[in-house]
């Protein structure tokens, strides 16, 4: 009964000295969802890119439906029935065109279509596709005007429209709300029933629990485990991916010394309630909340990127009102922003220059840079926070996401700060790197106050002495990180006046908290 749709054997791929895929053997079966797990840098994305014709394998064979398969480019892969929905949404949609054109775009590139575009016919086809996906927006809307989740749905809908043999979903739910995710899962169920082979790549255990028929774990460019017995061995899969048992991080919360940063009746928006808190020397505070709860805005106000509409900030007892990021940095307030590829990474630079970028003045005499000083400082930081690289002169682009993030955070640890702001420091980072970063931040926390802004409660629990929950730009709750009542915390995150989250039936609280966050993100 089980038909092998796609068979990979001995797949190898290197980039320069970087051996990324080391002999991958894998079977993807018709009517089955294979979840692919792997830490950042394990080679998942490269494997996907080989499959969808974006990279060529250096060695090894691929078969699709019994025939040799070696796509010449992405279009060839699609025409042969391998369709991919990529992680970064804007790869999947054309923002300046309307929904209808986006949904039918691939048909325009097929050979034999006429010269002129029949808009009405196009819209009809698009509406069919949209309806089959349960999308309700007007197909004439410009995609750029849609929100992130809708854009992601469009990208997936485009892939569905091709009636694929093998559908590859690369972190498809990372920007979807729970209800949209449910719609996606329903679709996956249907496609599975139709006999499509599905490769599902995710970090998210709740997704994998929901859809996976089998789990394949990757580690260091090789398959480290295949799990298909019923019930699936999730812990084993995570183990195979990380190479060691996940352990709870033991935090011994410190209460901190003298106040460093104080917020007094700070209003983030015109009509939002005042926020008051005191961040003390040596403590790590996690601010957590839903998307739009004000965490990012709070970070921006403290770093001088935005202005609070009322209230004041005190730094070491003196009024603090940064005019700009550079003003904040001179006053000893540092921030590692979220979305590192957009906000932090200088792609043209090597590790050393990326790391030392904020403090070039300290590495130069009479404005002339001392490359040696830059490299010494960088290589020391590399070994302290465990960046995996050949040398500090490697281009930043040769590093995996997690290692890039370590560099981005390491840059702010080069010099002592009064306040260190970390906005989503664990974004797109595997658990191993997350532990390393968290460990190092706690280790160096003395002498400053550290504010971490995270959406995921797990991450807050792993790093903070104190957790402050924001809801609609107000403080909804505060917890010292010792035996935290997760249900109460989740309730605070959801906010008053909303239905309390029921205790999960036998589920793991943290996973439940996560999916609740997702839920609320879409509701808010």
């Amino acid at each position: 009964m089980v038909k092998v749709t796609c068979k990979l054997s001995g797949l190898e791929k290197s980039f320069g000295r970087n051996h990324v895929l080391r002999g991958i053997d894998l079977e993807l079966r018709s009517g089955e969802v294979t979840a692919l797990m792997g830490a950042n840098g394990a080679g998942k994305s490269t494997l996907v890119k080989v499959l969808c014709g974006y990279h060529f394998a250096d060695a090894g064979k691929m078969e699709l439906a019994g025939k040799p398969y070696s796509p010449t480019d992405a279009a060839d892969a699609i025409s042969k029935g391998v369709v991919t929905v990529h992680q970064s949404i804007d790869d999947g949609v054309i923002p300046d065109l309307d929904v209808a054109t986006n949904l039918t775009l691939d048909r325009l590139t097929e050979p034999g279509v006429g010269l002129f575009v029949n808009d009405r016919k196009l819209r009809r086809q698009a509406r069919e596709v949209a309806e089959s996906m349960g999308l309700t927006m007007d197909v004439r809307t410009r995609v750029a005007d849609l929100d992130v989740a809708d854009r992601q749905m469009i990208a997936i809908a485009r892939a569905m429209a091709r009636a694929p043999k093998l559908l590859i979903l690369d972190e498809p739910t990372s920007s979807l709300s729970a209800s949209e995710a449910d719609r996606l899962f329903a679709l996956i169920d249907r496609l599975r029933a139709e006999g499509v082979a599905i490769l599902y790549i995710s970090h998210r255990m709740s997704d994998i629990r929901r859809v996976a028929d089998r789990i394949v774990s990757m580690r260091d460019g090789a398959i480290s485990g295949v799990f298909e017995s019923d019930p699936l061995d999730y812990v084993g899969a995570v183990n195979a991916m990380l190479g060691h048992q996940m352990t709870e991080v033991d935090i011994d919360p410190v209460s901190g010394g003298k106040p460093v940063l104080e917020a007094r009746d700070l209003r983030l928006f015109e009509d939002s309630p005042p926020i008051t808190f005191t961040a003390r020397e040596g403590e790590v505070i996690a601010f957590t909340g839903l998307l739009g709860s004000g965490t990012t805005e709070l970070a921006e106000v403290i770093f001088g990127l935005a202005e609070a509409s009322a209230g004041e900030l005190m730094l070491d007892g003196k009024p603090y009102r940064p005019a700009s990021a550079s003003d904040a940095v001179t006053k000893g307030v540092f921030m590692s922003p979220k979305d590192r590829s957009v906000n932090a990474v200088v792609a043209d630079f090597d590790i050393a220059n990326n790391m030392t970028l904020p403090f070039l003045k300290a590495f130069s005499r009479f404005s002339f840079l001392s490359e040696r000083a830059q490299r010494e400082a960088t290589s020391e930081m590399i070994s302290r926070i465990g960046v995996k690289c050949q040398s500090e002169r490697d281009g930043i682009g040769t590093l995996s996401g997690g290692n890039q993030q370590k560099v981005m955070i390491g840059r702010w640890l080069l010099k002592a700060s009064r306040v260190l702001l970390l906005d989503e420091p664990f974004q797109g980072v595997d658990i191993g790197a997350r532990r390393d970063i968290g460990h190092y931040i706690r280790q160096t926390a003395a002498g400053r106050t550290t504010l971490v802004f995270v959406a995921e409660i797990d991450e807050a629990l792993e790093i903070a002495d104190r957790i402050i929950v924001l809801n609609e730009a107000a403080i909804a709750g505060e917890y010292v990180n010792r035996n935290v009542d997760l249900n109460s915390l989740v309730a605070d995150v959801s906010g008053p006046g909303r239905s309390r989250t029921p205790t999960p039936p036998g589920g793991v609280p943290t996973a439940q908290a996560q999916s609740t966050l997702q839920n609320q993100a879409s509701a808010g």
Partner: protein, 342 residues
């Protein structure tokens, strides 16, 4: 596996040194086939012929580094040419005043360009294009479209009595002794000096490094506390000032105020800067590459002229070199790297 590695390193070498080798090869070829090419004077000629476009190209390089572009350099240069002539011939000012006026004008134009781009959010190409047209027109207004030369009749019926002072002409015409008498012209010395300064500035100072950071990821640079706006404005001011240095040298060489759009100056210097991307496989704007690129074009043109190639061959050859350089930069260099994505 091994041969693959060798191919890779061969490709690496080709990208890194290909252009330099080509440059030497060309020089050798012309030495053999164009009589009179291989001589110190001929070498100096080449430098002199690229000195002015080279200086402009170094300015454009600074704007390219911050991810911008300056289309106005050609017209800034010709405006400086007119301004220096105007201040000496009609206003009868000294050489120093003329030079200072031109530099101030260049800096001002750069400042306005920068403010248009940074504060008013006009896209760089459009802002500098507008400035280009503005200057082409503006430089003609004071003399109603006439070139400026000593003895010209002024609109009020009098005759312009001022002259290009000897000190000013010295800038364009004096030659320093080096091994041979009167070998090195001032513009060449200035060009080499400016190239050295810009090379040090962009490559080895923190300001240069931050400018590269801005060019690669403006947001990231801003979020580490760089004053992005100020650096961008400074880049345009450097560009404007270097363009007016070019114009001053041009005026000193021509000895009069010639009206010209400067479009050829613009195109040649942009070509030099783009060719510079390919030198040493840098794949990004850099001062050394720009100077080498300008030199490369100079050697080609000098050699071709000496071999009596017609003028249209020169544009053709410039185009071929530019396209080849861009292929080097954007195709080969991207194949070399192979970004690992995870």
């Amino acid at each position: 596996m091994k041969s693959d590695n060798m191919n890779k390193s061969a490709l690496d070498l080709a990208i890194r040194y290909g252009f330099i080798v080509l440059l030497c090869g060309l020089a050798l070829f012309f030495s053999l086939y164009a009589s009179g090419f291989a001589s110190p004077r001929s070498a100096v000629f080449i430098f002199q012929s690229v000195a002015i476009t080279g200086i402009l190209a170094l300015g454009v390089t600074c704007t390219l580094v911050v991810g911008g572009f300056d289309l106005s350099i050609g017209s800034v240069a010709t405006s400086a040419l007119m301004l220096s002539a105007y201040s000496m011939v009609i206003l009868e000012q000294s050489a120093l005043v003329a030079v200072l006026l031109c530099l101030a004008m260049g800096a001002l134009v750069g400042l306005i360009n920068g403010i248009l781009i940074v504060k008013m959010r006009v896209p760089d190409l459009l802002a500098t294009l507008g400035m280009m047209f503005l200057l082409i027109g503006l430089q003609r207004i004071p003399t109603q479209g006439n070139s400026i030369a000593t003895g010209m009749s002024l609109p009020d019926g009098s005759v312009a009595e001022g002259t290009f002072s000897a000190a000013f002409l010295w800038l364009g015409r004096h030659r320093f002794d080096l091994f041979l008498d009167r070998l090195l012209p001032v513009p060449v010395v200035l060009f080499l000096l400016i190239a050295l300064i810009i090379w040090l500035f962009l490559g080895y100072t923190r300001h240069g490094r931050l400018m590269y950071a801005i060019g690669s990821n403006e947001r990231a640079a801003g979020l580490v506390g760089t004053n992005v706006q100020r650096y961008k404005i400074v880049a345009y001011m450097i560009s404007g000032m270097l363009a007016s240095v070019g114009g001053i040298l041009l005026a000193a060489r021509l000895g009069r105020g010639d009206i010209a759009s400067g479009n050829n100056l613009l195109l040649d210097s942009v070509a030099a800067a783009l060719i510079g991307f390919a030198v040493l496989g840098a794949a990004r704007p850099n001062a050394f590459g720009t100077a080498a690129g300008a030199l490369f074009v100079g050697i080609l043109l000098q050699g071709l002229t000496m071999m009596n190639a017609p003028y249209y061959m020169q544009d053709f050859v410039k185009g071929v070199v530019l396209v080849a350089a861009l292929v080097f930069t954007f195709y080969l260099s991207s194949r070399r790297g192979g970004r690992k994505t995870a």
